[in-house]
Amino acid sequence: MAWYAGRRLLQMIPVFLGATLLIYAMVFLLPGDPIAALGGERGLPPAVAEQLRAQYHLDQPFLVQYGIYLRNLLTGDFGMSFSRRPVADLLAAAFPTTVKLAAMTLVIESVAGIGVGLWAGIRKGGIFDSTFLVISLVLIAVPIFVIGFAGQVLFGVKLGWVPATVGSNVSFRTLILPAIVLASASFAYILRLTRTTVAENRTADHVRTATAKGLSTGRVMRVHVLRNSLIPVVTFIGTDVGALLGGAVVTEGIFNIPGVGNLLYSAITRHEAPTIVSVTTFLVIVYLISNLIVDLLYAVLDPRIRYA
């Protein structure tokens, strides 16, 4: 296990370097003056342009620039926003809210997704299964901003059950609607994945053997079918954690939730490219770390990986 973890960690290093280099190169190796490009259509105030030139060491050769950028990243320096606040501080302020929203979303999508998926998988081909199969397709097909707006108008404005926007008032009550909206697509994916693996495992040879041992139907389902089916499902949920912590840009934007996603959302609307780069880099790092944790989790769940 320790060797496995170590190997995974080592494999992550080139991916981390590659991903950050890729992000950096996308912004600074493109033709034209990167500073002007960062300013967007409106152009930059001269003071900001000067500060940016200093921050990114544009007078140095590219690899040196990247080295400095990497060193800053590792020391937690994500640069300055246009409002001259360190992006690291903005992130630190926003991250707890994102974590809260992500946790709620995760609970909703896993409980509902696994529950419905298990039922649909057992009764594959039945009415329940077919209904939820169609529902899941619709949830995947309709973009989150349409679901978000629809939910906001219906439950927030028309019915008034929950606040339409969150703002500075972050609580369970205000976050529940955004969490459900955010969970909708992943719920559909988890449902489908659980359904498929449960249906597959139910006919597995070892499940028949377990039944032949004289185990009760409930125990066969829990210990042999569900436990084995959870391996790919938990892996998917783990990857989703990365995406959720990576900020629900659209959802946080629509509901005005002061999380990391909203930070990115407002940076986009204000055309603050340097902040976009910094926040994106942070999100990619979070995503990488959570993927690493998923890999380790996978090894915990599946003994075949651990000893491979």
Binding site: M26, L30, L137, I140, F145, A150, T269, I276, V284
Partner: protein
């Protein structure tokens, strides 16, 4: 051991049919020749059915499903609208009259008018082209690129695979939407349909590459590949003639679903304001602009939102049907 017991049973001098030492229900029995199944020639080929290839079987299976026809109809409609929007609406989607801002439906303008006073129906019809173009171009891009990288990595293996897989990991580590936001916000000037499709393709190929690699690795262990090697067929010949045709099925299914996903990402980018410029008629852009008046005129969101959802639904449903039809596990034998 049981065979010791078996030897106890007298058989040698037992007359036919007698049951000395044999217990009730266990006497020597043989089925009446008239009633037992007719014995034909060993392993005679069955020539009754029509010949069928795997693709034909898949087609027969698909055409029996309602979902296939529904999704095929949606896709056909959307593609026609995207190719010939003029046939479906004679109104110019860019002709706007502020005096009719947020006007209700009337003759010739069934969906009413948006905030700028443009015809909503026309904008929904003309918005199809942007979405379909981005979806199709991106899917073509990721499929070509992903299949090449994935099959080379899967087939040649060893260090070649190690390098290609790490590169795939790097691109896979950056979530598609984030990467697109990043690049699109840097290209503030020149965001065209082609640029958006290009950006999505650059970050979208790892999924296809991983699936192709896995499929190629499982196909290459088949004995028909070894048989082709023993014939003297070259490595590239084997890859092109035997391996890729057998590995392509899951790629087709995934690519069809991915087409829907790319349309969603494009719309999301436009919604965030870093997608197609306002001058291009697009569903994402219209939804974004509808946001401002959502509490009073939610229908402005509904029409482009429904068009977008329906289009994506068509593609992912088709992907589902194709996957079921091509899934080897679903086959008997």
């Amino acid at each position: 051991m049981p065979d010791a017991a078996a030897n106890d049973i007298p058989t040698e001098d037992v007359p036919e049919g007698a049951a000395v030492g044999v217990r009730a229900g266990q006497a020597h029995f043989f089925a009446d020749l008239d009633q037992s199944p007719v014995l034909g020639a060993v392993d005679a080929p069955d020539e009754s059915s029509a010949p069928s290839s795997l693709w034909r079987d898949a087609w027969v299976q698909m055409r029996g499903r309602v979902l296939f026809w529904v999704s095929a109809a949606i896709i056909l409609l959307v593609v026609l609208v995207a190719l010939f929007p003029g046939v479906f609406s004679q109104t110019d989607p860019r002709f706007c009259d502020l005096s009719r801002s947020v006007g209700g439906p009337e003759a010739g303008h069934w969906f009413g008018f948006d905030r700028q006073g443009c015809d909503v129906y026309a904008r929904v019809i003309f918005g199809a082209r942007a979405s379909v173009t981005v979806g199709v171009l991106t899917t073509l891009g990721v499929s070509v690129f992903g299949v090449i990288i994935g099959s080379l990595a899967g087939y040649y293996g060893k260090w070649f695979d190690a390098i290609l897989s790490r590169i795939t990991d790097i691109f896979f580590a950056i979530p598609l939407l984030l990467a697109a936001i990043l690049v699109a916000s840097v290209f503030s000037e020149s965001r065209t349909t082609f640029l958006i499709a290009g950006v999505l393709a650059v970050f979208g190929w790892p999924q296809i590459a991983r699936i192709t690699r896995g499929a190629v690795m499982s196909v290459k262990n088949n004995e028909f590949v070894t048989a082709a090697q023993a014939l003297g067929l070259s490595r590239s010949g084997i890859l092109l003639r035997h391996i890729i045709p057998n590995a392509i099925a899951p790629v087709i299914a995934t690519a069809t679903v991915a087409l829907g996903t790319f349309i969603v990402v494009e719309a999301t980018l436009s919604f965030l304001g870093v997608g197609l410029p306002p001058s291009t008629v697009s569903w994402g852009g219209d939804i974004s602009r509808a946001q401002a008046v959502i509490r009073t005129s939610p229908q402005l969101l509904l029409y482009p939102g429904a068009a977008l959802g329906l289009t994506v639904l068509g593609f992912i449903m088709m992907g589902d049907v194709v996957r079921d039809a091509l899934d080897p596990k679903a086959r008997t034998r």
